[in-house]
C-alpha cells in the first residue's frame, strides 16, 4: 500500500520535472530564435478566435449567476448596490482567468495532446527529428507563445462580458439602482485586481500549452494511448490551474499589498 503510494508520488514528481524540462527547452528555443514564428498566427487563431465563443458564454453565465446569488444574500442586509462590485472583483481576479483557463484547457489542451499524440504514433514526430527539426521548435514553442498571448485577451473578454451580463441581470431583472451599483463597482475594483487576473491568465495559458504538448509528445502507442493522453491533458491542466491559482492568489495579493 505504502509502496504503491510512494510509486505514484514518484511518478507524479517525474512528470512535473519533465514538464519543467519541456518548459526550459521551449523557453530556450524562443530566446535563441530556433522556433518557427510563422506558425504563430495559425495557433493564435486556433487557440484564441476558436475559443472565444465558449469563453464568452462561460463568462456571461458566470457573471449572471454570481450577480443573482450575491443580490439574494446582500438584499437581506440592504447592500443591493454592492452586488456589481462583488461580481467585478471576483471576475477580474479569480473567476475570469480561472474559468477561461479551464475552458481553454478543455478545448485547446485536449486538441494539442490529440494532435501531437497522433503525430507521435504515426512517426511524424520522428520524421520531424529525422529532418533535422527539433519538435520543441516546431510544435511546442509556437503553441506556448500563442497561448500566453491569447489567454489574457480571452480573459479580458470573459471579464467584460461577465460584468455586462451581471449588470443586465442586476439592473434589468433584479431592480438594483444602476448609478450606485456602477459607482460602487468602479470604487471597489482596483487596478491590482485586473493586473492579478491578467498575470494569472498568462501563467494559465502557458500551463495549458505545456501540459497539452507534454502529454501529446509522451503519449503511448495506439488509439488508446492517444485517448488517454487527451484525457490526461485536460484533467492535469485543469487541476494544475486550480492548484496554481491558490498559490498565485496568495503570492500576488501579498505582492500587491506590499507595493
Amino acid at each position: 500500500m505504502i509502496s504503491a503510494i510512494a510509486s505514484r508520488f514518484t511518478h507524479a514528481m517525474e512528470g512535473l520535472g519533465s514538464v519543467a524540462l519541456l518548459a526550459q527547452e521551449a523557453m530556450s528555443s524562443i530566446v535563441r530564435k530556433h522556433w518557427e514564428p510563422g506558425l504563430l498566427l495559425y495557433h493564435t487563431y486556433f487557440i484564441g478566435l476558436k475559443s472565444l465563443s465558449v469563453v464568452l458564454i462561460t463568462g456571461a453565465f458566470t457573471g449572471m449567476v454570481l450577480a443573482a446569488q450575491t443580490y439574494f444574500q446582500f438584499h437581506k442586509v440592504g447592500m443591493d448596490t454592492a452586488t456589481l462590485a462583488i461580481v467585478s472583483i471576483s471576475m477580474c481576479s479569480e473567476l475570469g482567468p480561472v474559468l477561461s483557463g479551464l475552458m481553454v484547457a478543455g478545448r485547446v489542451g485536449a486538441s494539442m495532446a490529440a494532435e501531437l499524440g497522433t503525430m507521435k504514433v504515426t512517426e511524424q514526430i520522428d520524421a520531424l527529428r529525422a529532418l533535422a527539426t527539433h519538435p520543441v521548435d516546431y510544435l511546442v514553442a509556437p503553441r506556448l507563445v500563442a497561448a500566453t498571448i491569447v489567454m489574457p485577451m480571452l480573459t479580458v473578454c470573459s471579464i467584460c462580458v461577465g460584468i455586462l451580463a451581471a449588470y443586465v441581470v442586476g439592473v434589468g431583472l433584479l431592480g438594483i439602482d444602476p448609478a450606485y451599483a456602477w459607482h460602487n463597482m468602479i470604487h471597489y475594483t482596483s487596478v491590482e485586481d485586473v493586473v492579478m487576473g491578467l498575470i494569472k491568465s498568462v501563467i494559465f495559458g502557458a500551463l495549458v500549452a505545456l501540459v497539452g504538448c507534454y502529454k501529446g509528445l509522451n503519449c503511448q502507442q495506439g488509439a488508446e494511448g492517444v485517448g488517454r493522453a487527451t484525457t490526461e491533458a485536460v484533467v492535469f491542466s485543469s487541476i494544475t490551474i486550480l492548484i496554481s491559482n491558490f498559490f498565485l492568489t496568495l503570492v500576488l495579493t501579498r505582492l500587491f499589498t506590499k507595493s
Binding site: 511524424q124 520524421a127 529532418l131 527539433h134
Partner: protein, 248 residues
C-alpha cells in the same frame, strides 16, 4: 562511414539488440535483414540518433553520437535522409509542403528555388504533378515515393530506408526497388535498406547484414548470402518455417 560498436537496447524485459557491431562505408548499398520484430527498424533508428543505445556507441564519420543532445544531433541528421515504413508524411500538409519542409526550415533558399527543388525531387521519384494532393489522397506506393522525395530533396549523403516495400503489391514493390537503385546511383549516396523482402535485397544491396537474436549473425556479399548453406540464413532466404516458428 557509419559504425556501430556493441549496441545493446532493451525495452522492459525484452532485449532487442544484444551487442550489434557493424560498419558501413561511404557509397555502399547495404541491406539489413532479419525476422519481423527482430530489431531491424530499432537498429536503423540508432544509426540516425532517433534512439540511443543502453550500451555501446554509434559513430558517424568517427563522431560518437549516442550521447549527444537532441539539438546537437540535428546537425548530424542533416547528412541523412530516412524513408519511414509508413512514409510518415505530415498529414496536415500537401505533398508539395511535405517535400519543401526541410528546405523551408533551413531558410537558405528562396521560394522559387524551393519550388524548383521540390518539382525536381518529385520528378525523380516519378510523382510529377501530385504536389497539391494531401497524403490521405495517395496510394501506399505514392506515399512511399512522396516520403522518398522528402528524404532526398535536401541531398543527403546517406539514405536510410525502413521496409520500403512492406504492404505493397509485387509490381509496385519492384518499381520502388528500381527507384532506390536508381537514386543510389544518381545521387551517389550511401544506402541502408532494412527489409525482409528478399527480392528487394537482390535488387538493391551489394552487401547484406543479417540480424538474428539481437546480433549481426551474417555479414556477406549479396550473392554469397543467397548461396549460403548456414541453416539460419538459408531458412530465412528461402522463407522456410519450422514447427517452432508456428508458435511465434
Amino acid at each position: 562511414m557509419i559504425e556501430a560498436r556493441g549496441i545493446k537496447k532493451r525495452f522492459g524485459a525484452q532485449h532487442v539488440l544484444n551487442g550489434v557491431d557493424l560498419r558501413i562505408d561511404d557509397g555502399e548499398a547495404v541491406a539489413i535483414i532479419g525476422r519481423s520484430g527482430g530489431g531491424k527498424s530499432i537498429l536503423l533508428k540508432h544509426l540516425i540518433g532517433l534512439l540511443s543505445p543502453d550500451e555501446g556507441e554509434v559513430l558517424i564519420r568517427g563522431l560518437p553520437i549516442a550521447h549527444l543532445s537532441e539539438r546537437q544531433l540535428l546537425d548530424v541528421r542533416k547528412e541523412f535522409g530516412l524513408l519511414f515504413q509508413s512514409a510518415a508524411l505530415f498529414d496536415s500538409m500537401t505533398v508539395h509542403e511535405n517535400v519543401a519542409f526541410p528546405l523551408r526550415r533551413d531558410r537558405q533558399l528562396t521560394s522559387a528555388e524551393i519550388g524548383m527543388r521540390v518539382d525536381e525531387a518529385l520528378a525523380m521519384v516519378d510523382l510529377p504533378g501530385t504536389g497539391a494532393k494531401r497524403p490521405a489522397e495517395l496510394s501506399g506506393g505514392m506515399r512511399k515515393r512522396a516520403g522518398l522525395a522528402r528524404a532526398i530533396v535536401y541531398r543527403p549523403k546517406v539514405l536510410l530506408y525502413d521496409e520500403p516495400t512492406t504492404g505493397l503489391d509485387p509490381i509496385v514493390s519492384d518499381s520502388i526497388d528500381q527507384l532506390i537503385k536508381r537514386l543510389c546511383e544518381q545521387l551517389r549516396t550511401t544506402t541502408v535498406v532494412v527489409t525482409h523482402d528478399m527480392r528487394s535485397v537482390r535488387a538493391i544491396a551489394q552487401r547484406v547484414l543479417m540480424l538474428h537474436e539481437g546480433k549481426i549473425y551474417a555479414n556477406a556479399a549479396t550473392s554469397d548470402l543467397f548461396a549460403s548453406t548456414d541453416p539460419v540464413v538459408s531458412a530465412f532466404v528461402k522463407g522456410v518455417s519450422t514447427p517452432k516458428d508456428l508458435l511465434l
